[in-house]
Amino acid sequence: MLIRILKNSFLKRPKAVLLVFLSITMGAAVATAFLGIAGEVSHKMALELRSYGANILVEPAAVEGGGFLREADLPKIKTVFWKYNITGFTPYLFDVAEFSAGAKKERGVVAGTWFSKLLEVPDEESSVQGIRGIAPWWDVQGDWPKGPDEAIAGASLAKRLGVSVGQELQVSAKGRTQRFRICGIVTTGGYEEEQLFAPLVTVQELLQKQGKISRVQVSALTVPMDDFGRKDPAKMSKDEYEKWYCTAYVTSVAKNVEEVMAGSRAKPVWQIASAEGALLQKLNSVMLLLTILALLASATAVSTSLMASMAERSPEIALMKSIGADRFQIVTIFIGEALIISLAGGIVGYLVGDQLAELISRSVFNSTIASPLWLFPTAILSAFAVALAGSVAPLRRALLIEPVRVLKG
C-alpha cells in the first residue's frame, strides 16, 4: 500500500518531484565538491608555495669559510623523519674561477650542481632532485645541460664574456682548465646571473674537491610557525622538545636535515619560510569560511525548495486525513517520499560533486584530487538530514489543518 502510494506520488507529478530532486542533487554536489577540495587545497597551496624556492639552507658548521659537506650524505636527506615533507633539494659546490671566451677574460663564480638527477636511495622510492625541481622561476634560454661538459651561464656573465648559446668557454681554477659548452643562459634577476652552473661531478674534478659540496638548498613543506614553534628548542623540556620535533615547523625540519649531514648547520631562509606560513594560514581560513558559507547556503536552498513543494500539498494531506489516515501513516508517506528523493539526489549529487572537485583541482592546480571515501556516506546522510529538516515544518503545519476547511478551498 505504502509503496503503491509512493510510486504513484512520484509518477503522477514528475515535474514537482524533479525540481526537488534537482535541488537536492545540487546541494549534495556543492557539499561534496567543497568538502573534497577544502581538505586538499591547503596541501596543494603549500606545494604551490614551494615554487618560491628553498626554505632551508644547509651550510658547513664552521663559521669561517673552508668547511665542506659530504656529497655521500645527500641521499640520507630522503630518509629522515620528515622525508615526505622534503619536496626537493640541490647541492652546490662553489669557487671563484677565471672565465675566458675568445679574447675576453673575467673572474666569476663557478657553481657545480645537480640540474635534474635521478637519485636512488635504498629502501626508498627513487626521486629526481636538482635545480629544475626547486627553482621553477629560472628562465633558461636554450636547453638544460645533459652532458658533463655542458653548462648554463648567468645572463650578465654571458653578456660580459660575449658568449651565447652553443658557444664554448674555458674555466680555469687552481691551475686546471675545463672547457664547457654553453647550452643555456639563465635570467633570474638575482645572484645567479653572475655564475656559471655546471654539473657537480665536473666542477668537483676541476676544483679537486671530489665528493665535497659547499651548500645544500632544501625545499620542504612546513606548517606555519606559532608561539610554541618560536620557543628556543634548547630551553625546552623533554616533552616539549618531542612535540616540537614531531611538528613540521621549518626549524624542526631543518634540525632533522642537520642531523644527517655530517658537520653541517641548517638554517631556515626566513624570507621564504615566514611569508609562506602566513599566507598558508590565511588561505586555509578563507577556504574554511567559504566551505561553511556554501554548505549553509545549499542547505537552506534545499530545505526551502522542499518546504515549497510540501506546502502545496496540504489538500492532499487533508484528503488523506478525511478518509481516515492517522498521523503516523501520513508522516510515513511524506517522509518516505523525502527520503527516496534525497537518497537519489545524494548519490547523483556525490557523483557530480566529485567531478566538480576534480575539475576545479585540475584547472587550478593541474593535478588530480583523490576524494576521500568518507565523503560518500557523508553526502548521502547530509542530503537526508537536509531533506528531513525541510519537510518537518510544513508537514507539522499541514497535520494541524482542519480537513474540512482545506478541502472546501
Binding site: 514537482a16 525540481l19 526537488v20 534537482l22 535541488s23 545540487m26 546541494g27 554536489a29 556543492v30 567543497f34 604551490e48 615554487s51 618560491y52 624556492g53 628553498a54 632551508i56 639552507l57 663559521v63 652546490y92 662553489f94 671563484v96 673572474r107 663564480v109 621553477p136 622561476w137 629560472w138 633570474t188 634577476g189 638575482g190 645572484y191 653572475e194 651548500r215 638548498q217 638554517k267 631556515p268 631562509v269 626566513w270 624570507q271 619560510a273 615566514s274 611569508a275 599566507l279 590565511k282 581560513s285 578563507v286 569560511l289 567559504l290 556554501a294 547556503a297 545549499s298 537552506t300 536552498a301 526551502t304 525548495s305 515549497a308 506546502a311 502545496e312 576545479i360 584547472s363 587550478v364
Partner: protein, 375 residues
Amino acid sequence: MRALGHRAGRTLLLLAVLAMASSLATALGIVSVSMGKRVAEEVRKYGANLVMVPESSRLDVGSGGLNFGIVSEPAYLQQSRVEEALAKSGVKIDRSVHLRGALQLKDADVMVEGVNFAEVRRLFPWWQVNGAWPAAGEAVIGNDLAAQLKLKVGDTLELAGAAQTLRLKISGTVATGGEEDGLLFLEVSELQRALGLEGQLSLVRLMVTAGGESLKRSAERLQSLYPAAKVKEVRQIARTSEGLLAKVKLLMLLVTAVVLVSAGSSVAGTMSTTVLERGKEIGLMKAMGGTRWEVMLIFCGEAALLGVLGGLAGYLFGSLTAQFITRTVFSASAEIIPWFVFVSLGVSLFLALLGSLGPMTSVFKLDPVKSLRGE
C-alpha cells in the same frame, strides 16, 4: 501587491531564498575581489620584486644566503636621481635604499650595509631581530658575523671609514637565513658620511604593488627615467607571486561559479514550484477574460518585485558576510563596493524571473476549464 500580501508565508519564503542567493553572490564576489588585493599584500611579505643597481656594477643580490661579495669597481646610484625617477614614474612603489661598503674594525674589514631601518621593517618583515631595532648611533649585526667577531648585544665597536670613524653600539642581532646574517647594518646617512659618499647608494630594492600594468612595464619605465641605472626583475619573487595570485583568483572564481549555479538552480526551482501550484489562479484569470499578456505581466511584476527586494536584502547581508570573512582572515575590512548592488539585484531578478517564466509557459498551455476543475 495584494497577491503578495495574501500569501505572506509563501512570499516570505521566496524573499528569503532570493535574498540568500543574491547575498551569496555578493559575499563571494566581494571576497574574491578583495582576496586578490589581500593576497597581493600578503605576497609582498616575500620581499622586493624589482632591484635597481648602477649600470656598471655586478649584481650580487639574492636570497638563500648565497653571496660572495664579488669585489668589482664600485659604482653608485645618486639618491636624488633615484627619488626623482620614482616620483616621476607614477607607479605605486615602496622602496628601501642600501649602501654597501667595507669599514675597518681594528685591522680587519667588515662588510657593512647602510639602510633606512623604517623601510627595512616595512619591506622585510621576515628579519628576526634579537634585541632592539637601532636608534641613532646604533647598529644591528648579522647572526653569523656576530658569532665570528664574538660580539653581543650592548657591545660598542669603533669602525674606521675613508672619511670618518664611527662609534656604534650594537642594539640587536638579526637572523634571516640569507646574506644578511653576515653583515653589519647601520643607518644609511651615517655610513654615507663615514665613507665620504654623501647622497650615493649602491642598491635600491623596489616593491611594486601589482597593479594594472605588468611588472616588466614598470621596470622599463623606471629604466628610461634613470638611464644610468639597471632595473631588474627579481624573478624568484615576481614570477612566483604572479603565478600564485592567478591561481588564487581562478580558485575563487570557480568556487563562486559552482556555488552560484547550484544555489541559483535551487532557488529557481523553488520559484517554479510556487508558480506551478498556482495553475488554478491562472485558469481563473483566463476564464475572467485576462489575456496571456496580462496574466504574464501580473506574474512577472510579482516576481520582479520579489527579485528587487531580495536583491537589496541580499546586497546588505552579503556585504556583511564579506566584511566578516575578510575581517577574521585578513584582519582588514573589505571595501564596500557599491556596484555590487547591481550584481546582487541582477542575480536576484534573474533567478526570480527564470523561476517564474519557465513553468508559466507550461501553465499557459493548460485549458482554463481543466485547471479550474482540478484535473
